[in-house]
């Protein structure tokens, strides 16, 4: 899949005025290879615990509201989903996590530009983080209502499957940060990965599948649409006429087995 290595430039948010376009960072200056080893000791800066996390610097417009992120986009890439969610849910704090330095810098600069140009997107932010290791350092138990895994690295080789963002052991941590009723959104253009994610989520006792229709009935159609269409990867798949597989799950509770 050499395609993945290059992310097409020029998919800037369409609704920008010419002036604010000038402010937006250009992707071609932030390219980076698509894969990162989640197991290695990256030089990361992360809070010791959620209490040590100061969200004020990330969401200065929300200082004093006591709000903390409720949506987390794991592997947010160039940030398309967050940019879309920001205007759909202006009161919900959205945090993107991205392990690649360049890409996370791009998203930062992008958010910074959008905030400056239009005073919008105050409710989105990004951290460079390894979510496979440090998710609980950012989010307290049951603090999130949605988790997004959109077009994650497929790690095609079997030997690399353990580096996939969805695994039976990691699902426990996702369930921990999600509140009961919270939704996990997954989408990919790689069929094998879709089967993998769906299988593991279905088998995990704390998640139950929820159909796209049910989500739309719950009023989450706008999220589903954003999941399909707003990410850079998603748009690329569309351009290439690829297929997209969506699978969503709801966090449920189970009693203790005696």
């Amino acid at each position: 899949m050499p395609k993945r290595k290059r992310t097409a430039a020029g998919t800037q948010a369409a609704d920008q005025t010419a002036e604010s376009k000038k402010l937006l960072p250009q992707k071609r200056f932030y390219r980076q290879r698509a894969h990162a080893n989640p197991f290695s000791d990256h030089a990361l800066d992360y809070p010791k615990s959620p209490q040590h996390m100061n969200w004020d610097t990330h969401y200065p417009a929300f200082v004093g509201t006591g709000r903390t992120p409720e949506f987390a986009d794991i592997g947010c890439g160039f940030g398309g989903l967050m940019i879309a969610l920001a205007t759909l849910y202006p009161d919900v704090l959205v945090l993107g996590m991205e392990i690649r330095v360049q890409v996370s810098q791009y998203v930062q600069d992008r958010i910074s530009a959008l905030r400056t140009a239009d005073n919008t997107h105050q409710n989105v932010s990004i951290v460079r983080a390894n979510a496979m290791k440090f998710l609980p350092n950012y989010f307290p138990k049951a603090s999130l209502s949605a988790l997004f895994f959109l077009f994650p690295d497929p790690h095609f080789k079997h030997r690399k499957h353990k580096a996939r963002i969805i695994s039976p052991t990691l699902l426990a941590e996702y369930a921990y940060v999600l509140r009961p009723g919270g939704i996990v959104y997954t989408i990919t253009d790689v069929k094998d990965l879709h089967v993998w994610m769906r299988t593991h989520l279905e088998e995990f006792p704390l998640f139950e599948p929820i159909s796209e229709e049910a989500l739309r009935e719950e009023g989450k159609g706008n999220i589903v649409d954003a999941v399909y269409k707003s990410t850079e990867e998603g748009q690329k798949v569309e351009r290439n006429k690829g297929e997209k597989w969506l699978a969503c799950f709801k966090r449920i509770e189970v009693p203790r087995v005696e």
Binding site: K22, L24, P25, F29, Q32, R33, H35, A36, N37, F39, S40, D41, A43, D45, K48, S49, Q51, H52, T57, H58, P60, I99, R100, V101, Q102, S104, Q105, Q108, D109, I111, S112, A113, T116, A117, S125, N130, M132, K133, F134, P136, K141, H158, R159, H161, K162, A163, S167, T169, A172, Y176, D192, V195, T199, H200, F204, P205, L206, V254, R256, V257
Partner: protein, 603 residues
Amino acid sequence: MSDSHFPHSLLLFSDSGKALVASGQHIQLVDTRTGDILSSTLNASDELKTSLLKSGPIRFIAVDKSWTHLLTFSDDKMLKVWKAEGLELLHERELPKRPTSAAFTKDGQTIVVADKFGDVFSYPLHPAPLVEEPTQPQPQEEEKEEPVQPAEVIVAEPEQKPATKGKRKRKPKNPNHHENPPHARDSVESHTNTSGGTLVLGHTSLLTSFLFSQDDKYIITTDRDEHIRVSWYPQGYIIESFCLGCSRFVSCLHIPKSQPSVLISGGGDPEIKVWDWHSGQLKHDIPVFEHVKEYIQVKAQPYVRKRGRGKILVGEDDPMNGEKEATEEVEPAPAHSETGTPAVEESSPQEETIFVVNKIETVEREGKLIIVFSVIGATALFATPFPDSSDSSNPPTIHTLDFGHPILDFTLDADGLVWVTIDRNLTKGSVSWDGKTIPDASSSSSTETPVKVVEVKSDGSLTGVTPDSKLLNTLNAACLVPASSDGLSKLNLYSSLTSLPKNNRGEEDGGDENGHEGEQNQGQKKQKQKQQQSRRDLGPGRGKKEEGKMKSKIAVLEKKKQVQGGGSGTATPAEPEDNERETKRSRSDAGDAEAEDVTMNDA
């Protein structure tokens, strides 16, 4: 070394008058009253002895509550289960990854094992009988947790036991992990499961230790990435809490018998931490490092990168492994950050004091709880009163008792005396990045007894005692296992000094392809092994990239000034950021992080 005996690396006491001692690859069972050696693997069959030798030094022993069975592991992936009486090896199983810690459940029927990959599996005490003959390497495994149990060797009697091949046999037997495994890319198997274990939970980090709550309803696991996780047991997928707040790896855990809701943890942090584990709340920090550091006589040598990155030690199947075997200073690198050559670095290794708490226990004395702990490579035993919630302001008193040789293990007997084993072959030394112990020139072995007994007073003070004990005599004489210098050199008793600290000052993650990303993340040393890359980064390409980034950034700043009427408050925060970017060549990670914050800040 004049002393040609293995030190006792592990020592355990039962409630029923038995002691187990591990020395090198051997274990011995001793009657604590009579001092008689009840059984010893020294008397085992030659076959078993060869097998033990091959597996290497005993790294871990766990015994079930009734002392009916015990388990051991060494430097390979084999989990050996023994009948305590007679030290009869019942069977050994191949685990998916190198184990780091294990325990029996209360009923003694289940074994729970934590491994280097970060997973916890549970296994029945005895392997299920093989139903189907596993036919050679399975061509296609469609099942997910594939229940093939190829690696079990069931041995009726150790005398005729052929379960010897240990390391060697796993290669052909475990096809799951090798370079070109017969696995379809659409397989949904997430974990190799060599011996039919049940996956309980997993971290994305080496598990250093774990323990059960006293009622066995929770399992508390801890990893190299500062986490302490409290999960339900056996429903390990339900996380009750995280005890977060550590800034370095956690290496040991303890729950005092009299206070089952309390968890005491130690690791690379300068404090010993006391938690309410159910809520994850930190109750006390006991600063100990300042008192301890002068006793740490085994230092860590800095990591010298010789070959290509990541290739140095990569185990055949464990990517986490390869990268973590390298040293990293706990404190920011001292000197040569900027432009020293690799040669300079190699020739001036600066040994570092690395703090790793090895073991924590508590003793009750006149109603007072005393925390007793040992530190890897430290020659003294330490004790401190359990912090009183009322006067947390007072700095704690740390009591020490120095033995002149590094302490390997300690254990409490029924009377609350502390039995300490020391490494009398060493007084001073260092550990290389691959875990080898290198004795200092001034280090000498001595005729000290290898086991010491210590009394803990109610104020926490420690006094050496010499009880008239047959057990002590046995441990100090009859139990000594002769060792060749080769055997001693393989002990690597202090390897965690270099394996636990993080190795992230080297080049970073994947940014290499595009130039400077890797560079800017490099720690303070080491950056120039990638000179080619630097050269590339210095080239015009790099400048263009940075220019391109700056262009839109400057535009943002100007716009901001415009909007906010040119208030200096908006412009200034950008300065440090720009500087950071400019001085990226000094690759300060912190700088990068700062820049990150600033960006968000000034938005």
